[in-house]
């Protein structure tokens, strides 16, 4: 009988052993979904692209929804194609006129603010970047199934309606000094909206997050353990997600512009979406991608297009003249060109 008792004891120990080993393991093997170190993430199709928000230091899913709601709010203001947006109404003369002046309209504070930023970059580049390029951009449809090159005469006429000097912004009053002008915020809106999302997340106490608006990347802090985020630079024309270099980034924005994003080839000519406001056709100056690392994403967005427009030399000069701003340009020969002092600030690894 003594043996029975002992064996019961062992049975108890063995049972405990099973619970301790396999029991714990079951929890851990749950795809890490219950692990508090796993980030929460959500993606949605917004702003004509895919928006992904990832939060590393909170389990509160409502923060993801709140961030996506910021996207919706601004899409309703800045979309060129959405017929209910404030920008669409401005471009089509549907807003309230100022003092019965048929070419002046009242705009909201939020539209006025981004127009101000857009005008800043238009002036900075002497019109190589121009937010009044809408008459030209609306002629091209790059993602179309059978894209067509618009007729030369049509492009020529549209170009005459482009020019930021004919756009005046005073407080909340916008005036078009020419007929049939239009504004396209496509080159800065994603950066501007990314900044607003970061503001929202920081206000909510988030210290570690990644905002990705279709490749317009903005980091909130670094990883929870203090490591930097690893942000890749898309390799031009390679399969999507193949990277040319990987950078270590904390709390900064990384924005790229490239000819490979939206383009088509017709009669051996590559037509891409970065259009020269003075000709109405794509830029062709040897650069195939620009990547800007900056504090504010709106600056990265505006500068990535601006540098494209200015070319390798002038573009690099512009970046080198700005504080806290770095850049990598990739030229047709697939060589990576870095701004002055790049390596003092950013750790980067080029891939094979």
């Amino acid at each position: 009988m003594k043996g029975r008792k002992k064996s019961k004891k062992y049975l108890l120990f063995a049972g405990l052993f099973i619970i301790l080993t396999t029991g714990c393991n079951t929890i851990n093997s749950n795809d890490g979904k219950t692990d508090s170190n796993t980030p929460i993430s959500k993606n949605a199709f917004k702003l004509n692209t895919i928006v992904t928000i990832t939060i590393y230091d909170s389990r509160d899913e409502s923060l993801l929804d709140g961030a996506l709601a910021v996207c919706d709010e601004y899409e309703q203001l800045y979309s060129r194609t959405l017929e209910t947006s404030e920008l669409y109404k401005l471009n089509n003369g549907l807003l309230e006129n100022v003092n019965n002046n048929k070419s002046s309209w009242y705009v909201s504070d939020k539209l006025a603010d981004i127009l101000d930023k857009g005008l800043y970059y238009s002036k900075l580049t002497g019109g190589a970047f121009d937010i009044t390029v809408e008459p030209v951009t609306s002629l091209w449809d790059f993602p179309a199934e059978n894209p067509v090159v618009p007729a030369p005469a049509v492009i020529k006429e549209a170009v005459t309606r482009v020019g930021y000097k004919n756009l005046s912004l005073e407080g909340n009053t916008v005036t078009f000094k020419k007929d049939q002008m239009g504004i396209d915020l496509g080159a800065i809106a994603k950066g501007y909206i990314a900044d607003r999302i970061k503001e929202y997340l920081v206000e909510q106490g988030v210290k570690s997050a990644m905002i990705n608006l279709g490749g317009n990347v903005l980091c909130v802090g670094g990883k929870p353990a203090g490591d930097a985020f690893k942000v890749g630079i898309q390799k031009p024309f390679a399969d999507r997600n193949e990277v040319a270099a990987i950078m270590e980034i904390k709390d900064l924005s990384v924005v790229s512009s490239g000819v490979y994003e939206r383009y088509f080839i017709k009669d051996n000519t590559l037509y891409h979406h970065i259009l020269d406001p003075s000709t109405g056709y794509s830029y062709d100056n040897g650069i195939i991608s620009t990547t800007i690392i900056s504090k504010k994403s709106v600056d990265g967005d505006g500068l990535s297009t601006s540098c494209f427009a200015l070319g390798l030399e002038e573009g690099m000069e512009l970046i080198n003249s700005l504080e806290d701003t770095n850049a990598v340009f990739i030229t047709e020969d697939y060589v990576l060109h870095y701004s002055e002092g790049f390596f003092d600030h950013i750790q980067v690894t080029e891939t094979e």
Binding site: G3, K6, S7, Y10, L11, A14, G15, F17, I18, T21, T22, N25, T26, N28, S29, D31, K42, N43, A44, F45, N48, T49, I50, T54, P143, A144, E145, M210, N212, G215, N216, V217, F229, K230, V231, G232, I233, Q234, D239, R240, N241, E242, V243, I246, V254, V255, S256, G258, E261, T291
Partner: protein, 121 residues
């Protein structure tokens, strides 16, 4: 202690060890391919089982997903730009293939670490 006690202990330990091995194995092979259409989960498939799936989206669009040898790829699609078809195969955690026109996301939830947290493009 009697001989039977040792046998009992041995059996119990063997069961525990088998449980451990099974669970560890299940964990390693738990990589999933998550297909989402317009933000909602459409289908979840194991990455380690070769299969195909025709993703049908509202409005008649389709994307043809192929899972083979531990990779996922879109082999054909109805979208005009075919960016999803040109995307290289995916296998690492967080990697995704996106079709904007059809609002389709094919994403890996897995154990193979991705070398980047985001790609600027």
């Amino acid at each position: 202690m009697k001989r039977n006690d040792f046998i009992l202990i041995a059996i119990i330990l063997a069961i525990a060890a088998a449980g451990l091995i099974y669970l560890n194995f299940a964990k390693k092979s738990g990589d999933m391919v998550v297909v989402k259409v317009d933000g909602a989960v459409y289908k979840e498939l194991p990455l380690n089982k070769d299969t195909t799936l025709e993703i049908q989206v509202t409005g008649g669009g389709t994307n043809f997903l192929v899972i083979k040898d531990g990779h996922a790829i879109i082999e054909d699609a109805s979208c005009p730009d075919k960016i999803c078809v040109h995307h290289r195969q995916i296998e690492k955690d967080g990697e995704s293939i996106i079709c904007l026109p059809n609002k389709v996301v094919v994403e890996i939830e897995g154990s193979k670490q991705n070398e980047v947290d985001a790609v600027a493009d």
